[in-house]
Amino acid sequence: MRITADEVLSAAQSAAIHVDAPRAATLATELTRCLEALAPLLAFDAAGVEPAVAVGAVGMPLRADESEPIAMREPAVALAPHARDGFIAVPYDPSSADGEVGAGPQA
């Protein structure tokens, strides 16, 4: 199992993290070493074993599917790096066809 520098760049794009080409080559070496250490997972007999996504005696319960007022709204907006008119403000994304032109960062 190995990962190439191109695959590192692809993963970086998906993860929204900037990685330049020299760093991608270094990361490919480091991550290939990680993947090799994980290889024993492919060596045991897993036939018929149902994967476990939960732990413990109580499993992974879900909360009730009910909507509630957002009590955190005001503090949440206050935490945002930029807010406008009570809403979190983010820059216009030119890749979005209906993005609001000029909705850039507010001081």
Partner: protein, 485 residues
């Protein structure tokens, strides 16, 4: 000679407060003085990211008002340190990351709220590897935490600050997170007690998520009794955490001080045991012999899949971290690097805010969930999780009450070695299994090798924390006697 306040047992100090012989301010003042002495030493251990001397003093004065209450609190007047990935509303919560350098949570974690309700006083937030990713506390944006037993060596991780704060005598107890050993590993390397309780035993509400199916809130303490008392204060169902268990909270301190007659201790044998340092193996063998002398039956247990726990943990943790850390994009909170498009802003913010280890693990997780999905490693790790749960169920069903192993395969390494991937890769070999299957595990001191602390790990069935405390306290007492205490 008067015993220093910070060395006083929690129960002893609390009783002193209740009869008017002690004041909570004394304990807070003693903790803060000790913290400043430690920070002023040439080898600053770098234990804390934030200290709140003023608020701590105010809380101590408020507590005096509660002295007349019928339930003044089991941790009355106890100074406590909180790992910096548990939300506090008075101190910032950085997770050891530049990403959250100025983040002050609008709410506090349930575990923090509960220790405060029990009378504890939060004096500081402890250093940790960034977002809990690491085993050395050298990967914090706020510098490395050093080991109080040997400042040239690492404190273990991810929550080395919390463990080292207890080991250095600043406080008796701390709350911190344990995702693959984050409480137990540094507790072992620093020579204190570290508990990862059953999954769901302590609410995770307000714990900044790393890998939600593996994350636990744990406790570091100077003694087994301190940890048992603190668990009694923080355990219990919390409607704010859907994974919190609605299971009755027992009187954990009542489990202390009993004979081990009739107890069966299973010594875990691991396919890779030869990688354990001889001194660690020797001290763990001596601990097993102590269990025998205390009346327990000791037998060997060989779970067939135990050697795969660490790789399974690494796969699941990396994949879950991808979604847990996706929220840090500069939009809603945390650091933002400005740009003219959202995509560029998010990429620049994440690249500037995350350290190298976080980037490495996020790329690994993204790769495993993307291109490498065809290899099926995540599914294999989840299947392994099911098999391992069966292995442990079988062991406990065979009459074993508690399992025992080293906590870490070696003593604290020197700081430079922490970056060696081969050293790094084996540190969670013994601790990760308990996170994968959610059973409680406790690291206890078993002795020292050339002056460096060594820990042994006890593992019990779900919600059997009392069994852990019973075995651990008996061992602690005998070890203390052997050391001439």
């Amino acid at each position: 000679m008067t015993e220093p306040e910070e060395a006083r047992r929690i129960v002893e100090f609390r009783d002193g407060v209740l009869v008017g012989e002690r004041a909570p301010q004394e304990a807070v003042a003693a903790a803060l003085t000790r913290m400043s002495h430690v920070a002023a030493e040439p080898d600053d251990l770098n234990l804390f990211i934030s200290v709140d001397a003023d608020a701590a003093g105010g809380c101590a004065r408020d507590l005096e008002v509660r002295l007349g209450d019928s339930e003044p609190g089991t941790l009355l007047g106890t100074p406590i340190v909180i790992g910096d990935n548990l939300a506090t509303s008075t101190l910032r919560t950085t997770c050891g990351s530049q990403m959250l350098a100025d983040y002050v949570s609008p709410y506090q974690a349930t575990a923090v709220q509960r220790v405060r309700a029990a009378g504890a006083i939060v004096v500081a937030k402890a250093n940790l590897d960034e977002f809990g990713m690491g085993v050395s506390t050298t990967r914090s944006a706020y510098g490395a935490t050093r080991n109080p037993a040997a400042p040239g060596r690492v404190s273990g991780g991810a929550n080395g600050g919390a463990a080292a704060a207890v080991a250095a005598g600043c406080v008796r107890v701390a709350l911190a997170s344990d995702t693959g050993g984050g409480v137990r590993h540094p507790a072992a390397l620093c020579g204190v007690v570290g508990l990862k309780p059953t999954y769901g035993r302590i609410s995770r509400f307000g714990l900044v998520a790393l890998a939600p199916s593996l994350d636990h809130v744990g406790i570091v303490g100077a003694t087994v009794e301190d940890v048992a008392l603190t668990l009694g204060a923080v355990a219990g169902h919390d409607p704010l955490d859907p994974t919190s268990a609605d299971v009755v909270v027992e009187m954990y301190v009542d489990a202390l001080g009993h004979s081990l007659r009739g107890t069966v201790v299973g010594v875990l044998r691991h396919r890779d045991d030869e990688a354990v340092q001889p001194a660690v193996r020797h001290l763990c063998d001596a601990a097993a012999e102590r269990f025998r002398r205390l009346g327990a039956e000791v037998r060997e247990v060989r779970p067939p899949h135990l050697h795969l726990a660490q790789p399974a943990y690494q796969v699941i943790a990396a994949c879950e971290a991808v979604s847990s850390l996706a929220r840090f994009d500069g939009s809603r909170f945390g650091a933002r690097v400005e740009a003219t498009s959202w995509r560029t802003m998010a990429e620049r913010s994440r690249s500037a805010g995350f350290g190298q280890e976080v980037v490495r693990r996020l790329l690994l997780g993204t790769h495993l969930l993307g291109v490498a999905r065809r290899e099926g490693l995540l599914r294999r790790a989840q299947q392994l999780r099911a098999l391992m749960a069966d292995d442990f169920r079988t062991a406990f069903a065979s009459g074993v009450h508690v399992l025992f192993s080293p906590t870490a395969p070696g003593v604290a390494c020197i700081s430079g070695e922490a970056e060696n991937p081969e050293v790094h890769a084996v540190q969670e070999r013994y601790t990760a299994a308990a996170n994968l299957i959610g059973v409680p595990a406790l690291s206890i001191p078993v002795g020292r090798a050339d002056g460096l602390p060594v820990g042994g790990q006890l593992i019990a069935p779900h919600f059997a924390e009392r069994t852990l405390f019973a075995v651990a306290s008996a061992h602690e007492r005998l070890l203390f006697e052997e050391l001439g205490g």
